[in-house]
C-alpha cells in the first residue's frame, strides 16, 4: 500500500503543472532576468572608484565609525569603491558642478539623523552611491533610535547592522567566502523555490481529509492508514521538490554561471533542508482546522511572500528592523531561517553560525511535520 501511494503521489507531484511552473519555471525565468540585469550593472561599474565629497558636521551620536567605514569600502580586488574628499558644503557644490575634476556626488553628514546625497545626474554611479547612502541612512536612524530608547541594545544592533552591510558591500577584514554582492538574490531565489514546496506539502493532507476535498472523502472512507498515507505522500513530494531545487541550483551555477562561492556541497545541503522545511510548512498548514482550500492557499502565499519580505529577501534591512522592533517574528519566520543559513554561508562560510541556522531549519521542519502528523489522526468531523 505504501509503495502504491508513494508511486502515485510522486506522479501527481511531478505532473502538477501549476506547482512546477511557479516553483521552477518562474524561478528560473526570474534568475535569468536577474543575471542579465546584474551583468549589465557589472559591465558598467566594473571596479570603478567613485570620487565623492563628504560634508561632516558635529558628531552628536558618536558615529565617526560609520564615516570611516565609508572610506574602507572596497571591491573584491582591493580597489577602493569611494575616493572621499572632506570639504565644506560650498566647496562640495562647486566640485559637483565642475567639469574637471568631476565628483559623482556629495554625501552630507552634517545631520546624522538626516543623511543626504546630492548628485547632478542619474546613472550607475549615482545608483551605487544612492544604495550606499540609503543603507547608512537607515542604519544611522536605527542607531540613533536605539541610543535614545534603549542604549543597552546598541551592541546587538551594531552587530546586526554589520552583517546587513556586508550583503551589499564588502568591508575590509570581514573575510566572507563570496565576494559577489548580487549572489544574495540567487540565494533568495533558491529560498523561494524551497518555500514554494509548501504548495505541494499542503496537498497531502488535502488529499486524505474528508473535510478538505472530494478525493479526501474517498481516501478517508478507505482502510488506508492516515499516517502511512501522509508519510508516503510527504516522501514523494520531497523527492520531486528536491529535484526541482537541485535543477534550479544547477541552472544558476552552470547555465547562468553564478558564483555561489566555494562551499557548494553546503549550498546543496542548505537548499535541500530548506525544501524539506518548505514542504513541512505546507503539510502543517494543510492540517489547520477546517479552513477552505482558498484560505489555505492564502495563508501559504502570505507565508511565502510575506515571510520572504520580512526576512529581507526582497528589500534589504527589513530583517534588521524586525530584529530591533519585534525579534519574535524572525524566530518564527521559516523564510528568515533559510535566509540566515544562506547569509552565513555567503559571508562566513561553514561556521558555527551556519550550523546553528541548519539546526534551526531542521528543528522547525521536525516541529511542523510532527504537529501535522499529530493533527492528522483519523477522526470524524463535526461538519463537512
Amino acid at each position: 500500500m505504501f509503495a502504491n501511494i508513494f508511486n502515485y503521489r510522486f506522479k501527481i507531484a511531478l505532473r502538477s503543472k501549476d506547482a512546477i511552473f511557479w516553483s521552477l519555471i518562474f524561478a528560473l525565468a526570474l534568475g535569468t532576468l536577474f543575471s542579465f540585469a546584474f551583468k549589465s550593472i557589472y559591465e558598467n561599474a566594473q571596479n570603478a572608484t567613485l570620487d565623492v565629497t563628504v560634508v561632516e558636521g558635529d558628531d552628536e551620536y558618536g558615529m565617526v565609525d560609520i564615516v570611516d567605514t565609508l572610506k574602507d569600502i572596497e571591491y573584491e580586488d582591493g580597489t577602493k569603491m569611494l575616493n572621499i574628499k572632506n570639504v565644506d558644503m560650498d566647496e562640495a557644490k562647486k566640485l559637483l558642478n565642475a567639469k574637471e575634476p568631476k565628483v559623482s556626488g556629495i554625501i552630507d553628514l552634517r545631520d546624522m539623523s538626516d543623511i543626504k546625497l546630492l548628485v547632478n545626474e542619474n546613472g550607475i554611479e549615482s545608483s551605487i552611491l544612492s544604495g550606499i547612502v540609503s543603507i547608512y541612512r537607515q542604519y544611522s536612524s536605527i542607531i540613533i533610535e536605539t541610543i535614545k530608547t534603549d542604549p543597552s541594545k546598541i551592541e546587538a544592533v551594531l552587530e546586526s547592522l554589520d552583517e546587513e552591510t556586508n550583503e551589499l558591500v564588502e568591508s575590509e577584514g570581514l573575510g566572507g567566502n563570496n565576494k559577489d554582492p548580487y549572489v544574495t538574490y540567487f540565494y533568495n531565489l533558491i529560498a523561494m523555490i524551497a518555500m514554494m514546496a509548501s504548495m505541494t506539502g499542503v496537498e497531502i493532507p488535502e488529499s486524505c481529509q474528508a473535510n478538505q476535498s472530494e478525493v479526501g472523502k474517498r481516501v478517508d472512507c478507505s482502510p488506508a492508514s492516515r499516517v502511512l498515507y501522509e508519510i508516503s505522500g510527504l516522501l514523494a513530494a520531497l523527492i520531486v521538490k528536491f529535484a526541482i531545487t537541485i535543477i534550479g541550483l544547477l541552472y544558476f551555477i552552470y547555465v547562468l554561471k553564478i558564483n555561489f562561492g566555494g562551499d557548494l556541497p553546503y549550498i546543496f545541503l542548505t537548499s535541500i533542508l530548506a525544501t524539506l522545511l518548505g514542504v513541512s510548512v505546507g503539510f502543517f498548514v494543510g492540517h489547520i482546522g477546517s479552513l477552505s482550500k482558498k484560505t489555505r492557499e492564502s495563508i501559504l502565499t502570505a507565508i511565502v511572500v510575506g515571510g520572504g519580505f520580512l526576512s529581507g529577501l526582497m528589500v534589504a534591512n527589513v530583517k534588521t528592523l524586525i530584529e530591533v522592533k519585534c525579534p519574535i517574528i524572525n524566530r518564527i519566520n521559516p523564510f528568515a531561517a533559510i535566509s540566515d543559513a544562506f547569509y552565513s554561508l555567503n559571508m562566513y562560510g561553514v561556521s558555527d553560525r551556519f550550523y546553528n541556522s541548519i539546526i534551526y531549519i531542521v528543528g522547525l521542519t521536525v516541529v511542523f511535520t510532527v504537529l501535522g502528523l499529530i493533527m492528522s489522526r483519523r477522526k470524524s468531523y463535526a461538519s463537512l
Binding site: N4, D220, C221, S222, L384
Partner: protein, 315 residues
C-alpha cells in the same frame, strides 16, 4: 434469512441549532438495493456521512455488518465502496492510474489489484479511455470513472450518492444497469437520488426521509399503498364548464379534480373501474373527448404526497 448489513438506531446529528437527523433509524438487509429518498436538506447525505464515520454524531448507534462502526474500523471500511455525487479523482492521473490508486488503498496484492482494476474498467466500459486524463473525459465517462474508483475493490456494501447527476441518458442507463449487476453479484446497495424513476427501477426497498426524520419505509408497493391516490384518470378534453368539473368531483372514489391546458386529471382513492365511471359520465352528458387513460401512482406521487409540494431551498 439474510443478515443485516446496516443498522442505524436513534441517530441524532445537530449542526448547532439545526437538527439534521432526529432519532433516525433504519436497517438494510444483505442483498437489498435500498433507496434513500428525501428533498434537499432532508438529511440523506448527512446520514451517509455518519454511516461512513466521516461525520461525528450526537447520539445513536451505527452498526455495519453487525459491528459498531467507528473512524478507526479499517476492517469494516475495507468492505464498503463509496460513489459520491461529486467526482473524486486526481486530474494528474490517467483513468487507469486513478482506479489503480484508489483500489490500492484496499488491495495490497499487486496482481490481484491489476485484475480488479481491469474488471472495474470493463464493468463501467471505459477500458478504451484508460490512458486518458480526467479533463479529457465527457461528463458521462467521468461519472463512470468515479464509479470504477468506488467499486474496483469489490466491496460488499456500496453507497451511491446521486451518481447520475448531469449524466446523458445513455450513460445513465449504463450506470443503472451496472448497479443492478453489482447487486446481482452479491453487493448490498444504498442508493440516493432525486430521480424517482431510477429508484423505482433499481430499489427493492425505499425509505423516504424529511427534516431528518423517517417519513415512510417499505417496498415500492407498500409505499404506494400508503398514499391516498390509487389511480389518476387523465382525459384530453376541450371546453369543460365549472359545473361539469364539480359533477366529476362528486363521482364515487374521486377526491381531487384538476383541469388545465385541456387536460382533466381525476384523482381517485380506492375503488375499481374508476375509468369506466368517468368515461360513462362524459358519454351520458354528450361531451366529446380525445383520449382517456388511467395512471397508477408512481414513486414520485408517493414522494410528493408524503413530503409535500412546497419548494425546498436548502441543500
Amino acid at each position: 434469512m439474510s443478515g443485516t448489513v446496516v443498522e442505524i438506531n436513534n441517530l441524532v446529528k445537530r449542526y448547532k441549532e439545526l437538527i439534521a437527523l432526529d432519532n433516525f433509524s433504519f436497517k438494510i438487509s444483505e442483498g437489498d438495493v435500498f433507496g434513500l429518498l428525501g428533498p434537499n436538506g432532508s438529511g440523506k447525505t448527512t446520514t451517509i456521512n455518519c454511516l461512513l464515520s466521516l461525520l461525528s454524531y450526537d447520539k445513536g448507534e451505527i452498526k455495519l455488518f453487525g459491528e459498531k462502526m467507528t473512524p478507526s474500523r479499517r476492517d469494516l471500511k475495507s468492505r464498503i465502496g463509496v460513489v459520491s455525487q461529486n467526482v473524486a479523482v486526481f486530474d494528474e492521473l490517467t483513468v487507469y492510474e486513478n482506479v489503480d490508486y484508489f483500489c490500492g488503498l484496499y488491495i495490497g496484492d499487486k496482481k490481484l489489484r491489476k485484475q480488479y482494476v481491469e474488471e472495474a474498467l470493463e464493468f463501467v466500459d471505459i477500458t478504451d479511455f484508460r490512458k486518458f486524463y480526467p479533463k479529457k473525459l465527457s461528463g458521462g465517462l467521468l461519472r463512470r470513472l468515479n464509479i470504477a474508483c468506488g467499486i474496483a475493490h469489490k466491496p460488499e456494501l456500496i453507497i451511491f450518492d446521486e451518481p447520475t447527476v448531469a449524466v446523458d441518458p445513455q450513460s445513465r442507463n449504463k450506470i443503472l444497469e451496472g448497479i443492478a449487476e453489482l447487486n446481482k453479484n452479491g453487493a448490498t446497495i444504498i442508493y440516493t437520488s432525486h430521480y424517482m424513476e431510477e429508484v423505482e427501477q433499481l430499489c427493492n426497498r425505499v425509505l423516504i426521509m424529511d427534516k431528518g426524520k423517517k417519513i415512510a419505509e417499505g417496498t415500492k408497493d407498500e409505499l404506494k399503498g400508503m398514499i391516498k391516490n390509487t389511480e389518476s384518470i387523465v382525459v384530453n378534453v376541450r371546453h369543460l364548464s365549472d359545473e361539469t368539473i364539480n359533477d366529476i368531483k362528486g363521482l364515487h372514489h374521486v377526491y381531487d379534480v384538476k383541469y388545465m391546458n385541456n387536460t382533466l386529471t381525476v384523482k381517485c382513492s380506492g375503488g375499481k373501474h374508476n375509468i369506466t365511471h368517468v368515461s360513462e359520465y362524459f358519454e351520458q352528458h354528450n361531451i366529446d373527448y380525445d383520449r382517456i387513460y388511467s395512471e397508477l401512482p408512481t414513486l414520485n406521487d408517493v414522494f410528493l404526497e408524503i413530503t409535500g409540494k412546497e419548494l425546498r431551498d436548502k441543500e
